[in-house]
């Protein structure tokens, strides 16, 4: 079952308390695509410069990611430089060189247009809508965005959201998009904008899903060593959408499993720089961590009448 992703392919310079790498492969479409590739056929749309190496293409090839939609242009590939402090929460961006990404206009190869599942990574909401306009009749559209677009292009973003089934954003973005400090009320406001499900990414605190007046909440997988959080949100989205494309059945039950699978892929991703861990994970490891998630949150029900005494007469 095939899945389309539109986003960035980039070279990153990343420093964390545990080390530093320069010019490593990154970008939202890269993290998403490799994570999703374990579960589904991925069609990637992005742009790179003429500095993009064959070695990097190899990663997509070994993971059977279709890169017919990876445009190569003269100029340099998008480059991001950032640093994480000791708590590994928010990155401080040192430099963002958009380069060829600055004038990116997603063009879908004809073979991509019938793709049933779509993920619009965090790019200009106008471009996100242009992607949808090139598609035939996608069954499921998920989308990411960020405060830059919420503040800079609110009307365009809201127009895009009318065509989106699932929005995946973080806690503060959800509050900002809805102008509501309470996340529960923010979720209801966002669901009224178009999406039928909202997934709130909370980093080390896990994720929330709001859909059909239901709420699903899950902690993040506790890791002894988080090495580099770069790409966590996109590998989450890749595992999530990849799983849904695999089972091709979008219900409350499969959405919940998909959120766990997204959390599993994100938990692997942050164990190493760039895609070093994500590209090398095995199916046994993926399924074992899914089961570990079940143990992590498991508790027994209380049988009726099991509490020894009902003490109060008030």
């Amino acid at each position: 079952m095939s899945l389309l992703v539109v986003g960035s392919v980039a070279f990153d310079d990343v420093r964390t308390p545990f080390g530093e790498v320069r010019g490593v492969l990154g970008g939202s479409a890269t993290y998403f695509g490799i994570a999703a590739s374990y579960f589904a056929d991925v069609n990637l749309v992005a742009v790179v410069g003429d500095d993009f190496t064959d070695e990097s293409l190899d990663l997509f090839r070994t993971h059977r990611v279709n890169i017919d939609g990876l445009e190569r242009r003269s100029g340099k590939t998008f480059r991001w430089s950032g640093e994480y402090g000791f708590d590994l929460k928010e990155a401080t961006t040192h430099a963002t060189h958009l380069n060829v990404f600055e004038t990116f206009e997603p063009k879908l190869p004809a073979s991509y247009r019938a793709c049933p599942y779509v993920f619009l990574a965090n790019i200009d909401p106008v471009l996100q809508r242009q992607v949808l306009e090139q598609m035939e009749a996608p069954e499921l559209v998920a989308c990411d965005t960020m405060n830059f677009w919420i503040e800079g292009k609110p009307k365009e973003l809201k127009e895009t959201l009318r065509h989106v089934d699932i929005l995946t954003i973080n806690d503060s973005e959800a509050r900002e998009l809805a102008s509501q400090p309470n996340i529960y009320e923010a979720a209801q406001a966002i669901l009224a904008m178009g999406p039928s499900a909202l997934i709130v990414k909370r980093g080390e605190y896990g994720a929330l899903m709001f859909n059909e007046e239901k709420v699903f909440a899950i902690p993040a997988y506790p890791l002894e060593a988080v090495f580099d959080p770069t790409g966590a949100g996109d590998s989450f989205a890749g595992g999530f959408m990849g799983y849904l494309a695999n089972v091709r059945n979008v219900t409350d039950a499969t959405l919940r499993q998909a959120i766990i699978m997204g959390s599993v892929m994100a938990s692997f991703n942050v164990e190493a720089f760039s895609l070093d861990r994500l590209r090398a994970v095995t199916y046994d490891e993926i399924l074992e961590r899914f089961k570990a998630f079940r143990r992590l949150v498991h508790f027994e029900d209380i049988g009726s009448g099991e509490l020894a005494v009902q003490r109060l007469m008030i």
Copy 2:
């Protein structure tokens, strides 16, 4: 089954974005005691001034909290004034008047000394140890503390922890106590100090438990309206210890259920100022919210071979 709590009984002035109250009943032992009273016989040790009203005593009486250990002294009752901002996370303290609490020396009535379960709320670790020295042979000792003692009396606190089975503290306190930014590594360091279980309270993000090389993680119950977070940690501890005292069986399974019960009681507590909601909750409501917690985190396992394709040959 009986449970002893030592802590504060106070009058609070609280302002939140939703309103303001002055001189309402509060204090760690109060929140703990009322929450625990739904599940177990509670023996309370604290001190109040001669301004303490009969109306406030009525709350303890209707909840059958034993106040033989509530010392009355000439002077004023402990008074705390604080304010919560729009995110309702951390309180800004405007004033702390310890009053009679400043020279509090917990004295246990003879009838309390054989009590099997003990909760030492957040007070000077030297006083916490004095309580334990007055007891015969408690089966289970749980304890809270805060950054003030972690920074101000680290040696005394570590001595107390040698006699404690379960420590309940928040995220940043755990990192500070262990001098470890990673919460997983912090937990291992704290378990090496004495406790056999560590419960990390994460406010709106729920709770973590580390014990026997296991981890349990649970989100907080999502509430449409959080009104006043004061007492959330102590009502959590009250529900937690009350439940354990009720089932009188401390295993990984009952500890997990107890954490849910603590979360249930905390979720009720924050729905209103002071103890207005906590004092009026019914058993049906408690058990219904416990079940709602199960629905909140529920997801199905993936059957073996259920994933359609194992795609990679790498």
